[in-house]
Assembly symmetry: C2
Homo-oligomer: 484 residues x 2
């Protein structure tokens, strides 16, 4: 039996027989694959979906089910926020930083309201209310939350802030699972033919056109003909250590990959037929330091006692900048008015305490005049409502001057720094996979975290950007494949 | 006429005729290509070399001709330094950081002394003396200089320091040109058939084996059969803005690409036949802030008035860390005992002065208690010979307390921050280009900056590491191709 490989497509002429024939074949059954399946099925073509796990979900089902949507949603309007497509799009572009895909930002910026309606049409429920404050995911069933750095510098200076995280109506954390369940139900109702425990091992090509898949099912290689196209929807490569070592070695500074078998197979499949993989060094990371919420008032310093970020940014942006700091750890400084016991899960420990910041500094074995000077400058200006160094804004900007004081340690290896990769295949807004020369590969589409999409830059990530990318561009890939 | 493309190999069956036949074909005539040609010719096989410029040189000829060599050279011993293979190898690995290729470090660490002799055997002259101090390139014809961060933390704690930059005997800067001239002469004397103004546009493959090249000469496509192998020696992609945008966008923070037509073609050719391109986000950058030499005693702060590095590191490491800082610029702080006019070329300007550090701080419009607190801590400890924050060492560690004081601005866009890329094809120590699955591609070899090699990590670069990589692994590629 020949060994099929994700690194080497199988020429159609060498396919021994066809086990399945469909019009659109989709690989991966997270939110991306489900949305691609819905759109392709709605377009009236036959759809088969192959998922290596025993059911739907992928990394999407491990998420909060939060989708980044702006431009004036019902929930935004009801809560009194006047968002615009222009501000929303500008924010998306800022969040993409040096890795931004402007065309994707422009399209999603213009279409997000319609996408929100589409999600509702699929049956995704939204309560419609606004939950103020700094939350990672709602602990109730609220809809609208601040889920990024919109109100923080520099973003606030270039795009009028509004909350844009839209969360499925679901009691407590973990809205990703019910979100995928709803999308799965829709895909099944529309007739998508879903195969689980079916691991894609290679693409099949016909003179440069992607024409199908080799799928391993029940320990047999099955040959799938896809007459219109193949959609890759397999996620990133956070669980592939060899890929991380070659393309994203800074992820070894942190410790808790999040995902569901995200082994980069979709990226390898795409590259095997000439696809271009870009921004492979980019990753998201976060440590849940804003829980309890009062701790969001804290000040971060590195091991030299220096601040490095306006702490009112999104928790993931702060965490990503923290991981850039030397010394393997950073400290979150709090006073007694804002300290409470950190979340157990976070693995955040108390590294030092004191009745003055000088005492904390000494307990952390920092030289006199480092952390204490930092806090002197910070408090002096915070009392006037200013942060001249990093422009942290009220209400997070408060003086930390109520003794006793505490320094919490966020250690990159022993605290919980979850992470996932952001680099992947370069695609058009229609989900076409591009070659390094910039040409679409006939018959091949991709979306979600096996592509570089809306959440292109680790330092600019905002909650809901990945699911926005997965659901919206998953749809585009399904539409484009069906039209082929 | 068909358009040949670096993105798409030409099947041998489609080659209309052969214009040239050789055993080893080499693409690119910098130090890498020259060394590959010498070794292949010395192995007794026919060698053709194709260079798109009108003569030899490439980026190598723009360099100082400095090669990183350790383990106990004549120059090291004569100057009283006892270097060892173990310390040298350990330093190479530290310098590779998270991107390190340990096998390459181990091999080069063990073979560098023999490589040094080989260079001499080719006719490269070395005066053999040691030039102390912090120099970028000798302004005389000296041999041995400190060219990295060997004596700086953290390197000094893991590998016994020794100077390892070995510079060709050549009066003044620019030893790269005479170095390449000598290697070119050797290659020609050995019978290498050299074609200039000859631009490689595609590889030719024969059932997965690289079998030749399509080369554009005099506006005609020429078909080159290479019966043993092709060696890619084309340099990095610093002059390809589209590649930088996709794979290395942080280079847009700086302004002065250095190289000679380094457009990434070798990387694209390698990837077109299944090669793996790794660490594509890595780049070297430097601003010549250690000239005049007294300025190397300075202290760097970012726009928040904070130090960020032990300034006794290699100038490129300091510069690379500088570019990580927010605000688009950093300041080099000096007192009157250590200031002199910066090098014109550097584009370094005076941003602030004062009779106290408080006055400098105010002139830079930094909040009171930031830069001044930084300098207070620094000076207090420097007087005792310590730097508790970053462990800068004497003799660079001196108090800066002789008024008046000055803050020089190194602006990432308007000062001279030269840069080149470090990511490229993944190769074995024999120069074999590897697929993403880790298998050598038959008939294809590569070395130098179209590969990821010894200088894999921008933050760990040391002068001479790239030419060490080019010359040594260029040789290995030539040997392996000839043996094929």
């Amino acid at each position: 039996m020949p060994a099929y490989s994700p690194y080497q497509p199988l020429p159609l002429a060498d396919v021994p027989h066809w086990d399945f024939t469909t019009e659109v074949a989709i690989v991966g059954f997270g939110a991306t694959g489900a949305c691609a399946a819905i759109e392709a099925a709605e377009a009236g073509v036959r759809v088969m979906l192959f998922e290596r796990s025993s059911g739907s979900g992928g990394a999407s089902a491990l998420s909060g089910g939060e989708i980044y949507i702006g431009g004036g949603t019902d929930a935004q309007i009801a809560a009194g926020f006047s968002d615009s497509v222009a501000d929303f799009t500008a924010y998306l572009k800022l969040a993409g930083g040096p890795c931004v895909d402007e065309a994707k930002c422009d399209l999603y910026g213009a279409e997000a309201l319609a996408h929100y309606q589409w999600l509702k049409d699929q049956g995704v429920p939204y309560r419609g209310n606004y939950l103020p404050g700094k939350v990672i995911e709602p602990t109730d069933d609220s809809t609208l939350i601040w889920s990024g750095s919109e109100a923080a510098t520099p973003f606030r200076n270039h795009a009028k802030p509004a909350p844009r995280g839209h969360v499925i109506q679901h009691m407590g954390w973990g809205g990703g699972r019910p979100l995928v369940n709803i999308l799965e139900r829709r895909a099944r109702d529309l007739g998508a033919d879903i195969h689980v425990d079916a691991r894609t091992v290679a693409l099949i090509t016909d003179n440069g056109r992607v024409a199908g898949l080799v799928v391993r099912i029940d320990n047999h290689d099955r040959f799938v003909r896809a007459t219109r196209g193949v959609v890759l929807a397999t996620g990133g490569f956070v669980f592939n250590e060899a890929m991380r070592r070659k393309y994203c070695p800074d992820t070894f500074r942190v410790n808790s990959p999040i995902g569901d078998k995200d082994d980069g197979i979709g990226i390898e499949l795409g590259v095997s037929v000439g696809g271009d993989a870009i921004h492979m060094d980019q990753f998201f990371t976060t440590c849940p330091w804003t829980i309890p919420a009062d701790q969001a008032h804290g000040v971060f310093v590195n091991v030299a006692g220096q601040r490095f970020i306006n702490e009112d940014c999104y928790h993931g942006r702060v965490s990503r900048c923290a991981v850039d700091q030397p010394g393997g750890k950073v400290y979150l400084l709090l006073d007694s008015a804002h300290f409470s016991q950190p979340l157990d899960l976070a693995g955040i420990t108390i590294a030092g305490t004191g009745n003055t910041w000088d005492e904390v500094e000494a307990e952390l074995e920092m030289p006199a005049g480092t952390l204490s000077a930092t806090m002197d400058v910070y408090n002096r200006h915070a009392r006037d409502g200013h942060d001249p160094l990093f422009d942290k804004q009220p209400p997070m900007l408060v003086p930390l001057d109520q003794a006793p004081f505490v320094a919490l340690e966020l250690n990159f290896q022993t605290s919980y720094f979850s992470f996932f990769t952001l680099g992947g295949l370069k695609t058009t807004t229609r989900g076409e996979v591009l070659t390094r020369a910039g040409a679409p590969i006939p018959g091949l589409y991709a979306a979600g975290r096996c592509t570089s999409g809306l959440p292109a830059w680790g330092h600019g990530y905002s909650s809901g950007m990945s699911l926005a990318d997965c659901t919206f561009f998953g749809r585009q890939a399904g539409i484009a494949a069906a039209q082929q």
